[in-house]
C-alpha cells in the first residue's frame, strides 16, 4: 500500500483590515501612476530601483509592517504584508531598493541581530532609508552554497573578512550586505558547519562594489570584493557556525511569496486591456487560461502564507509554489507572443511592447534566483522520501 501524500493549502483568514489595506495601497499606486510618480516596469521587484519611492512607502508605514512597533514596525500580520507586496508587484512599482531588506534582512536581524542592531537599523529599514543586499553567491559557489570561500578570521574585538560575493542585486545603493562566510575550516563530512552570517556596512574600508551589466542591459547586480574588511564582534548575525541553518530557513520563507508568480502580471494586465475590444474566442481562451493559472497559483501561495501563520514550516509546499510560479511567469511572455510578437529593442512609446520585450530579456533569471528550479525539485523529491 502506498503512503498518503497530501499537500494542503488552507485559506488564510482575511479580515476587513487586510481588505482595507489592499484598497489603500491600490489607490495610492493608481494615483502615483497618474501623477507620473513612476512608470510601471516588469519584474519590478528586481528591475525597478527608486530609493525615493521606497521612502514614500516607508512614510506610509508599508515597510516592515510585521515588526514590533518599538523597532519601527506596525505589528501587523504576514497577510497584511502579503497584500501590500501583491499590489506593488501587479502595479509594476519600482520596489527593488527596499525589497530584500523588507522581506528578508529585516526579519533576519529581528531573529538573530543584537538589540543595538534592531534599535538602529530596523526603524531605518521600515522608513525606506536603509537597504540591504544579499551576500550569498560567489564566483565558485552558486547552487552549491555550502562551498562558499569567503573567509572570516577572528581578530581582536571582531572579525576580518576576505572574499568575493557575486550577483548581489542592488548592492550599489545598499548600505549593508548580509555576508555568508566560512568561520572555520571546511570539513567535507560536515560541509554545512562552520558557516556564519555577518552584517557588513558597505562603506567599510576594504569593500569595493562593481556593477555587472545583465543581458537586459542594466547594471543592477554586482560583484562585491572584501579585502581584509574588519567588522566588530556584534556584526555576527545569530550564532557563529549557525549560518547554514539560518540561511536555509530564510530561503524557505522567501520561496512562496507573490513575487514568485506575479513578476510579469503587469504585462498580462496591459495585454488583456488592449485585447478587450476585439477579444476573439481563441484569444479569450489563451488569456483566460493564464488568469486561471494565476488564480490557482495565488491560492497555493496564500495557502503557504496561512501555514506559516500557523507556525508550520512548509518547505516542500513553498518549493512547489516557486517552481510552478516562476515557470508560469516565463510562460506568460511566451504565450502573449502569439498576439504580440516581440522583435524590436525599441518600443516607440508602445508601453505593452516595452513591457513584453523587457520581460523576455529578463525572464531567464526567474527560474534561477533564490535557488534554481532544479534545486527546488530536489527539495520536493526529498520531501517525498526519494533522497
Amino acid at each position: 500500500m502506498s503512503e498518503t501524500i497530501r499537500f494542503n493549502f488552507p485559506a488564510p483568514v482575511i479580515d476587513d483590515s487586510v481588505d482595507r489595506l489592499r484598497k489603500e495601497v491600490r489607490a495610492f499606486l493608481q494615483a502615483e501612476i497618474r501623477n507620473g510618480g513612476f512608470q510601471p516596469v516588469t519584474d519590478c521587484w528586481c528591475s525597478g530601483i527608486d530609493p525615493a519611492f521606497s521612502r514614500k512607502l516607508g512614510q506610509r508605514g508599508w515597510l516592515g509592517v510585521t515588526w514590533p512597533k518599538e523597532y519601527g514596525g506596525q505589528e501587523l500580520s504576514a497577510l497584511h504584508r502579503y497584500v501590500i507586496t501583491e499590489e506593488l508587484l501587479v502595479a509594476g512599482a519600482p520596489v527593488h531598493a527596499h525589497w530584500i531588506a523588507d522581506r528578508q534582512s529585516g526579519p533576519l536581524i529581528l531573529a538573530t541581530g543584537t538589540e543595538e542592531m534592531k534599535r538602529t537599523l530596523l526603524p531605518r529599514i521600515a522608513a525606506g532609508e536603509c537597504f540591504v543586499a544579499l551576500g550569498l553567491s560567489e564566483p565558485e559557489s552558486g547552487s552549491d552554497l555550502a562551498s562558499v570561500r569567503t573567509r572570516a578570521h577572528k581578530v581582536e574585538d571582531g572579525w576580518e573578512l576576505t572574499g568575493t560575493k557575486l550577483w548581489s542585486s542592488g548592492a550599489q545603493i545598499c548600505q549593508y550586505m548580509t555576508v555568508l562566510a566560512r568561520t572555520s575550516e571546511r570539513d567535507d563530512k560536515k560541509r554545512h558547519e562552520g558557516l556564519t552570517q555577518f552584517l557588513v556596512p558597505l562603506d567599510s574600508p576594504g569593500v569595493s562594489v562593481r556593477g555587472i551589466r545583465d543581458m537586459s542591459g542594466v547594471e543592477h547586480f554586482n560583484e562585491s570584493h572584501f579585502e581584509n574588511v574588519f567588522v566588530p564582534e556584534d556584526a555576527v548575525l545569530g550564532a557563529v557556525g549557525a549560518g547554514w541553518k539560518q540561511i536555509t530557513s530564510e530561503l524557505a520563507l522567501e520561496r512562496s511569496g507573490p513575487e514568485r508568480l506575479l513578476s510579469t502580471f503587469v504585462v498580462l494586465e496591459k495585454a488583456f486591456l488592449q485585447a478587450v475590444a476585439t477579444m476573439s474566442g481563441h484569444q479569450a481562451a489563451v488569456m483566460g487560461g493564464m488568469l486561471a493559472r494565476t488564480r490557482a497559483l495565488r491560492a497555493m501561495s496564500l495557502g503557504v502564507a496561512a501555514l506559516l501563520e500557523q507556525g508550520q514550516y512548509p518547505e516542500v509546499e513553498a518549493s512547489l509554489v516557486k517552481d510552478l510560479g516562476t515557470r508560469f511567469e516565463q510562460d506568460i511572455i511566451e504565450r502573449l507572443r502569439e498576439f504580440w510578437p516581440i522583435q524590436l529593442k525599441q518600443s516607440f512609446g508602445d508601453e505593452l511592447h516595452y513591457l513584453l520585450a523587457d520581460s523576455l530579456l529578463r525572464q531567464p533569471s526567474f527560474t534561477l534566483r533564490g535557488g534554481t528550479n532544479e534545486v527546488l525539485k530536489g527539495i520536493i523529491a526529498r520531501g517525498m522520501g526519494l533522497r
Partner: protein
C-alpha cells in the same frame, strides 16, 4: 472542517479501502458488479451526504461532499457515488422526494430536454449512467425556468456507452415521455449553475485521482531497482515526480478554493458570476494537470504502468475522460477570458487600470 465531517470522511476512507481494491475496479469494468461495495455505501448512507436532514439525508456541508468525491476518486471508486450525490442534491433542491438508491443526473451540459403539455422530449448525448440505477433525475427546461423530472430507466430510451475508463455513460432519448414526478420551477437553479456544479465535481475527482497517481509513482520509483539503484535515486526521475507533485498540488489548491467559495454561496446551482471564476479555474487547472500528470506518471512507471493489472491505468483513463466532461480546460479558459473582457467593457473609459487584477484577486 467540522468534526462530524471528518468522522464521515474517515468512515468512507475505511469503506473504500476495504471494498474497492484495484481488483474490484478492474472486475467491475468487465461486468462483475461490486456488490459488497455498493451495499456498504448505501448502508453507510453516503449517497445521502448532501441531502438536508429534513429531506431524510445526512445534511452534510458542500465541503464534505466535495471532499468525499475527491477521496472516492483516489480509489477509482467502482460505484456512482459522485453521480448519486449530485442527483440527490438536485432532487432535494427541487423539493422532490429523495430515494435511498442509486441515481444519476441526466445532464451533460448540452441543451436541456423541454417540457410541453406535461410530457418531456429531448436528447442528452452523454449522461452519466450506471447499471444499478433505479431512477433518473432530469433537469428540464420550461419557459426559461428549470424543473426537475424523474423517470424510471425503463420509461426512456437508453443507449449505453462507456467512458475511456469503462465507466457507464449513456445517450438518453426522451420522446414525449411522462415523468414519474415533476417539480415546480426550481428557485435559484440555472443551466450555468448545473454546469458549474458538475464541473467542480469532475475537477475534484481529477484532483483526487492525481493524488493517488502521485502516491503510486512515488511508491513505485522507491521500489523499482535499475542500474543497481532505486529509480527514485535518479535525478531525471526525481524531477518528473516533483512535477507530478506540483501539478497535483496546484489542482488541489484550486478545487479547495472553489469548493470554499461555492460553500459560501447560498444557492450553489445558480451559476453566479461570483463563483464562475473559481470553479472555472479549478476545472482549467485540473484538466490541464490531467495531461501532464498522466504522461509523467506513466513515464516513471515504464511498461508496468501500461499493463491492465497495475492500477495506474484506472486513474489515467478516468482523468482523461473527466477532463473533457462538463467543459475542458479550453472551454472554461474561454469562459474566463470572455467574462473578464465583458466586465471590463462595461466599466467607464479610463477606469480600467489594474482592473484585471482587481477581478482576478477577488
Amino acid at each position: 472542517m467540522e468534526q462530524t465531517d471528518q468522522l464521515i470522511l474517515d468512515t468512507a476512507q475505511r469503506l473504500f479501502a476495504d471494498h474497492c481494491g484495484a481488483d474490484v475496479v478492474n472486475a467491475a469494468e468487465s461486468g462483475v458488479a461490486p456488490v459488497r461495495l455498493l451495499t456498504a455505501l448505501l448502508e453507510a448512507g453516503l449517497p445521502l451526504a448532501w441531502v438536508p436532514e429534513n429531506a431524510g439525508g445526512v445534511g452534510g456541508s458542500l465541503a464534505l461532499g466535495f471532499n468525499l468525491i475527491r477521496q472516492s476518486a483516489g480509489f477509482a471508486l467502482a460505484a456512482p457515488l459522485a453521480e448519486t450525490l449530485v442527483a440527490n442534491r438536485v432532487l432535494a433542491e427541487s423539493g422532490l422526494e429523495v430515494a435511498e438508491s442509486w441515481t444519476v443526473l441526466v445532464f451533460d451540459g448540452g441543451v436541456l430536454p423541454m417540457l410541453a403539455g406535461g410530457k418531456i422530449s429531448g436528447l442528452v448525448e452523454s449522461a452519466p449512467m450506471h447499471a444499478g440505477v433505479t431512477r433518473l433525475v432530469v433537469p428540464v427546461s420550461d419557459q426559461g425556468a428549470i424543473r426537475i423530472a424523474t423517470f424510471a430507466p425503463d420509461d426512456v430510451e437508453i443507449d449505453y456507452r462507456e467512458s475511456l475508463a469503462g465507466e457507464s455513460r449513456a445517450q438518453v432519448q426522451l420522446s414525449e415521455s411522462v415523468p414519474l414526478a415533476l417539480s415546480s420551477a426550481v428557485d435559484g437553479m440555472s443551466e450555468h449553475g448545473l454546469m458549474q456544479f458538475c464541473a467542480l465535481v469532475r475537477a475534484c475527482q481529477i484532483a483526487g485521482a492525481m493524488e493517488k497517481m502521485n502516491e503510486l509513482t512515488v511508491a513505485y520509483v522507491k521500489e523499482r531497482q535499475q542500474f543497481g539503484r532505486a529509480l527514485g535515486k535518479f535525478q531525471a526521475i526525481q524531477h518528473k515526480v516533483a512535477d507530478i507533485a506540483g501539478e497535483s498540488a496546484l489542482a488541489n489548491a484550486a478545487v479547495e478554493q472553489a469548493a470554499r467559495e461555492l460553500s459560501e454561496h447560498s444557492r450553489p446551482f445558480s451559476g453566479s458570476a461570483d463563483t464562475l471564476l473559481s470553479i472555472a479555474t479549478a476545472k482549467v487547472v485540473a484538466s490541464e494537470a490531467a495531461g501532464t500528470v498522466s504522461r509523467l506518471a506513466h513515464q516513471c512507471h515504464g511498461a508496468m504502468g501500461f499493463s491492465y493489472e497495475y492500477p495506474l491505468q484506472q486513474y489515467s483513463r478516468r482523468i482523461w475522460s473527466w477532463r473533457e466532461e462538463y467543459g475542458s480546460e479550453f472551454y472554461w479558459s474561454e469562459r474566463i477570458g470572455l467574462a473578464v473582457a465583458d466586465e471590463l467593457k462595461h466599466s467607464a473609459p479610463g477606469q480600467n487600470d489594474g482592473r484585471v487584477w482587481d477581478i482576478v484577486s477577488r
